[in-house]
């Protein structure tokens, strides 16, 4: 069709052909460059989003630290960490009560929740037939979604009167009530992840154990649990993170009194509950507020340390398997 030596009369036709060729290639080039540009733009958008997520964490760390450190302009380091006298009205900002409360509450919660969760995990992964398992797992998932303030409400209206009746104390709120409410809250998380870990142990392990004549108890105790150890640790740490950071459910049942809890039934306070109860009433530029931010920074540090622990566990788990 393209004549290399065209006659003069064909000139308009050639021009036409050239135009269509140009238009065709131009259109094609446009589409290609547009696709190319969109790909590139999308890539940059995604990078920006990922950077934004990191930026938020860095910004949170920076803001909490910067505001929290201002506390030490007015009181000494030892005053905050080793004094249990929290009376902001008299310029006393001792945080020991809350730090102790958080650790005690978390320990008590895990003490109750971990054995129970392991029982449910074993129940789901070893004992129950498949159809029932498939029905029960989503129910546990649903339980994770119930708002924490509903748990707090139930604790306040059902659990605390119960504790009052059983123990005969006047108040009923305190570490025990908070730990029981938190147990119900972390139970689904811990048991679901432990259940996954136990189910992920290769079937040949338990088959071999049964073939050696081991009972079900021996198989679970000596084969399945040790094999799933790192997954179970992961579950426990996640449960711990939730127990440390939980706010509303704890606020409603712990009593919110800044005194060291030397008994399970004494109203006390933890880091989260103290922050949420007091932050709205204090001016931003006051030592009181700075001390609350410092407590927030402590919470942040605890939760980030747990993430480091989880990653270390995962890396160790990968090396073993």
């Amino acid at each position: 069709m393209l004549d290399s030596n065209p006659a003069a009369g064909k000139a308009p036709l050639r021009a036409e052909l050239g135009r269509t060729l140009l238009a065709g290639s131009g259109k094609k080039f446009d589409r290609r460059s547009r696709l190319f540009a969109m790909n590139r733009m999308f890539r940059y958008l995604c990078i920006a989003a990922a950077a934004f997520v990191c930026l938020i964490l860095v910004l949170i760390l920076f803001l909490m630290l910067r505001t929290g450190v201002l506390t030490f302009n007015h009181i000494s380091f030892a005053d905050f960490f080793f004094s249990s006298d929290w009376t902001p009205e008299n310029e006393q900002y001792g945080g020991l009560v809350f730090i102790f409360g958080t650790f005690a509450l978390t320990a008590l919660t895990l003490l109750i929740a971990v054995p129970l969760s392991l029982m449910i995990a074993i129940f789901l992964s070893v004992f129950v037939p498949t159809w029932l398992k498939n029905a029960l797992r989503p129910i546990l998932d649903l339980l994770v979604g119930i708002p924490s303030v509903v748990y707090g409400y139930l604790g306040l209206t059902v659990l605390i009167p119960l504790i009052r009746d059983v123990t005969g104390t006047g108040m009923g709120d305190g570490l025990l009530a908070a730990a029981l409410v938190l147990t119900i809250m972390v139970l689904p998380t811990v048991s679901r992840i432990s259940d996954d870990a136990i189910s992920a142990v290769p079937a040949k392990f338990s088959d071999a154990s049964y073939a050696l004549g081991a009972t079900r108890f021996q198989t679970v105790w000596k084969v399945l649990l040790p094999s799933a150890k790192s997954g179970i640790m992961y579950a426990v740490i996640l449960g711990m993170a939730r127990a440390v950071g939980e706010t509303m459910a704890v606020v409603m049942v712990i009593g919110n009194t800044p005194q060291i809890a030397d008994s399970l039934l004494k109203p006390t306070s933890v880091l989260t509950s103290n922050i949420v109860m007091q932050i709205s009433n204090v001016p931003f530029d006051s030592t009181w507020n700075y001390a609350l931010y410092l407590m927030g920074f402590l919470l942040l540090l605890i939760s980030l340390l747990m993430i480091v622990a989880v990653r270390w566990l995962q890396r160790r788990g990968e090396r073993v398997s």
């Binding site: 129940f123 303030v149 993170a241 989260t272 922050i275 927030g296």
Partner: protein, 306 residues
């Protein structure tokens, strides 16, 4: 049944004098263990159902339209939850509007574009770290950002953005994991047809990963709907007092916060009843969010299985 087994066992291992006792002990132990696990399992499952029943049966039968759409009252009986319920959905909607695009984009980056190096490892640690930050920290962050820095006070906007930050890392992780779970063949096939990376992501990877992503969004939406600590700190414990107020800068007490407020601070005489009904509505909506969105997914997975 017991006799022949133990008899043959003793015959086979006559040289081991402890064998027989050991076996009896093991059997009792095993029975005991099974018994304990079964009781614990059944008791806890029954407990869960009891809990749900307790919340729902106290409140659901008493619900009326007046209560659902009425204005709350500080002093008189018969206050409703209208504005707080509206704020709950409004803040949920706004926070998802912000966090879904951002979270999905970050997840797509980590799954598809990110090189495997130290920096990206650090980004992953950041995402995981952010996911474990207690919700109250986001509240403190929101105060420092919106109340102090931007001086806009306690608003719906501040609450929604703080809530979006809370949800962001979860959405990022869910998106990344779901996209990674798509078989490599589908991606290769799309590339082999001449599709660009963007087209592959949009037309092949995201549809295939949609199940996981939507499950994640449901999880996040349920959590955001019931979240209260962040909202108390950034959106306050009052409403503007009007129904159908869509202003971004009015105070935004949500239903979850209202439940806490009524239970611990309010002075109305029917606080107990309001709390019961509010708790029932809260749990009902969360169950709905979890179930309603999963039905089409469930049908879809049944259809695509074969």
């Amino acid at each position: 049944m017991k006799n022949p087994i133990s008899a043959s066992a003793t015959a086979a291992t006559a040289s081991n004098p402890f064998r027989r006792d050991n076996k009896g002990f093991n059997r009792i132990n095993d029975r005991l263990f099974s018994g304990v696990i079964w009781t614990a399992g059944v008791l806890i499952i029954a407990f869960i159902f009891g809990l749900l029943y307790l919340i729902l049966q106290d409140g659901l039968p008493k619900l009326t339209w007046d209560f659902l759409f009425g204005l709350p009252s500080e002093i008189d009986e018969g206050g409703g939850i209208g504005p707080t319920l509206l704020n709950s959905f409004y803040i949920l909607f706004l926070s998802l509007l912000i966090s879904i695009p951002l979270g999905m984009a970050a997840g797509i980056y980590l799954a598809e574009f990110a090189p495997d190096n130290k920096l990206i490892g650090f980004v992953r640690v950041c995402v995981e770290g952010l996911a474990s930050v207690p919700s109250i920290i986001f509240g403190l962050f929101g105060i420092a950002l919106f109340v102090e820095l931007f001086q806009i006070g306690l608003t719906i906007l501040g609450g929604a953005i703080s809530l979006a930050f809370l949800n962001l890392p979860v959405l990022t992780r869910v998106t990344e994991e779901s996209i990674r779970a798509v078989p490599a063949e589908q991606k290769s096939a799309s590339f082999a047809l001449g599709a660009t990376h963007l087209q592959t992501i949009m037309r092949a990877l995201i549809p295939a990963a949609l199940n996981g992503i939507i499950t994640g969004i449901c999880l996040v939406a349920g959590r955001a709907f019931g979240e209260s600590a962040v909202i108390i700190l950034t959106a306050g414990v009052t409403t503007s007092g009007e129904m159908w107020d869509f202003s971004l800068f009015s105070p935004g007490e949500t239903l979850a916060v209202h439940l806490w407020y009524v239970q611990s601070e309010a002075i109305v005489s029917d606080a107990q009843e309001i709390a019961q009904k509010a708790a029932a509505v809260l749990v009902f909506v969360v169950l709905l969010i979890n179930l309603l969105f999963r039905i089409p997914l469930w049908l879809n997975s049944r259809k695509t299985r074969r």
